[in-house]
Symmetry: C2
Subunit: 164 residues, 2 copies
Amino acid sequence: MALDAFADVLAANDAYARGYRLGDLRGSAAKGLAVVTCMDTRIEPLAMLGLRPGDAKILRNAGGRVTDEILRTLVVASYLLNVDRVMVIAHTDCRMTGGADDELHEAIAAAGGPDTRDLSFGVVPDQQAAVRADVERIRSFGYLPGLRVGGFVFDVGSGRLTPV
Amino acid sequence: MALDAFADVLAANDAYARGYRLGDLRGSAAKGLAVVTCMDTRIEPLAMLGLRPGDAKILRNAGGRVTDEILRTLVVASYLLNVDRVMVIAHTDCRMTGGADDELHEAIAAAGGPDTRDLSFGVVPDQQAAVRADVERIRSFGYLPGLRVGGFVFDVGSGRLTPV
């Protein structure tokens, strides 16, 4: 593998490792929390919740959606990794909401990309409704214990979370 | 929704928002990077790579695996969000590797959970092979441009990344 493409981040990791101390951190979530949120560059999942490494499991995808895979993962997290509450956190100014897949297909084509109309990106027209539905998916998934689940929107302009 | 379960993190978010300044951060990846890694509590994706908010898109799931959903997301990220390189980062001491789903099914049952044998968790026997296959999945996905892709394992004991 050509590592030239990653020389900057690998050099930074060398510095990180020199100052790294695992301490008593484990894979389980010390604060019982799992956070499902978006891949967006502006979101700092731990910092925005006052958390530190070791406190929470962080799941991130396009839009912060609760997929089948996330439901299965929450089963593992709840029985084996100390998770008993889940935050589903969408955010403002998200390309995965407020429209439909067609807009992404068109934007990709306009950017010189391929015809992606055979791909489903999962853009949702109504973010609040999507968050409510995602919260309900977790609450009603038969394999999960009675997790406490909340839905929120993170405002990338203000840094503030608002319950949905 | 009962917010009592989230009173601690919402209070922390209030403090975070008071000190928050978005500045010129945008949804695109300033350093052209997407990182696919695990939900593990010990991983700090930005810090371990010397990055800051705004630099990279962060995708996290159980094990840091390249799923179909992640391939589709990388299409959006590469054409619309400035991503031209991808790191796939597994880690040591991960429950999603070095065995098979059966061990998780048994551990969940032993923890008082339900019979989950109808669920596929995607545990892999060989982490190095899985990372190599995931890197190859990205390289060979027809809808993606020529992204630079690298596979790595993060050592939770040392904080160090090793190329696969």
